[in-house]
């Protein structure tokens, strides 16, 4: 390794972001080159000093398990203070959250009543939209972050035991972000997410019967059968491929997400 190469990798080397082989090469170079070693030492001194400054924690409250549990429980509307000094702030927050929860409960009850469906008897589209909105609003973690559809497919196949194939699409139109396991209707399912412009779209693959799609509008087009539904401002577009149902969920209209439908059986 030359000095130029070693210096190119110094930042990533100190951040432990190099693979072990490259890291070893840099290490060996530093052991034999005092000038690069000096560079590394200077950079390391800057990092150590910056870390010491940025990690000064004068204002960090003590980690108090019982106080924190009280906060978590109060978040479920059993008011308690995070700390005595901050009780009033939390109390106000909880009142607001309680009011919001009440409005949401009322709205959802009306929504369900309007649909003529009993609570607890959610449709597949409801469950899919619920999972998607939770992913977006609550920043559910992606368990694999990759734009490679083969890599994401393999990961999901191994974790869900489903023969899922994540659609490979033109990256100039939609970019695969990654995937995670999820549960739809209590069953294990595979979840992949794409970015289309400024919007997200999920592709969920699961074992489900054709009857579960019966509440959706059936579309027969170009020899393929799709099902489509609108639910809480989201489009749900589904199809059957082999043993699996694939469903795309997004705030985008049907024609913008149809490219995420798997193209053929298998």
């Amino acid at each position: 390794m030359t000095c130029g190469e070693a210096r190119q990798y110094i930042f990533a080397f100190l951040d432990n972001e190099l693979d072990s082989a490259l890291s070893l090469e840099v290490q060996q170079h530093l052991e034999h080159c005092p000038l690069c070693a000096r560079e590394c030492e200077i950079e390391n001194a800057v990092r150590r000093q910056l870390a010491a400054k940025l990690r000064q924690a004068d204002e960090v409250p003590e980690f108090d398990e019982s106080a924190l549990v009280a906060v978590l429980r109060s978040g479920a509307r059993t008011p308690t203070g995070y700390a005595t000094a901050r009780k009033s702030r939390w109390s106000w927050k909880l009142q607001t959250m309680g009011a919001v929860a009440a409005v949401l409960l009322l709205a959802s009850t009306l929504f369900i009543a309007n649909r003529g469906a009993a609570p607890g008897n959610r449709t597949l589209a409801d469950a899919l939209v619920n999972d998607f909105t939770r992913f977006v609003s609550e920043a559910k973690p992606l368990e694999i972050v990759s734009a490679d559809s083969d890599e994401v497919s393999r990961w999901l196949q191994e974790r869900t035991a489903l023969a899922v194939r994540v659609p490979a699409v033109d990256s100039s139109i939609a970019t695969l972000q990654g995937g995670r396991k999820c549960k739809i209707g209590g069953k294990s399912a595979a979840f992949a997410v794409y970015r289309i412009g400024n919007e997200l779209a999920s592709v969920v693959a699961m074992q489900a019967s054709e009857e579960s799609l019966a509440h959706m509008r059936r579309i027969d087009r170009d020899g393929h059968t799709h099902w489509v539904d609108q639910c809480r401002g989201h489009t749900v577009l589904a199809c059957r491929r082999g043993e699996l149902v694939y469903a795309v969920v997004s705030r985008l209209p049907e024609d913008s997400i149809s490219l995420l439908m798997p193209s053929s059986d298998g």
Binding site: I10, F11, R38, I42, L72
Partner: protein, 198 residues
Amino acid sequence: MSEAEAAFLRLVRPCWRRLHLVARHYAASADDARDLVQETLLRAWAAYSPSEERAYREGWLFVIQRNVAAEWARQARRRIRLVPIDHDELTEMVGTELSEPFETLPSTTEDQFRELLDQKVVEAFDSLDPSHREVVLLSVAAELSYREIAEVLACPLGTVMSRMGRARRDLREKLAGALKAKGWKSNPSREPQIGDTR
């Protein structure tokens, strides 16, 4: 304490301090920073599924924290200093080689250098481009990997690497400038001081 609460606290405990450190940089006041962490944990708890305990990683909490901060910044409810992510930003990996060749860095004793760092490193950090400062913050204070930072910022890994490289070079340049301003002159022929211990 329920098993779910205990499992959630096991996730939170190791990054409790770091969540506050990052929150303090997002929020303009210590009160807002504490509120930011509390709101983050409440949202995380609401979304937490104990059956998937092993799937959760620390980075998830920082993702939520940044989302809450971004939401508050949009609503202007709190004084939040946050740089929107520009998804059109050039994301290719830029060379991260040190911009100032070591030959032109002023030679100083280790004590002098440490004294300068002590005085100037925060000033240099604060003067970084805000988007560069955030990746350094998430790396140094939150101790996240480049990949985790990319998840927090919802941007490609290449963007993180590119910002990190630029931030480190800028820091170095600012510190070298401070050294020169103090009258410590470049002396390439002199034997290295820092690193002599290696």
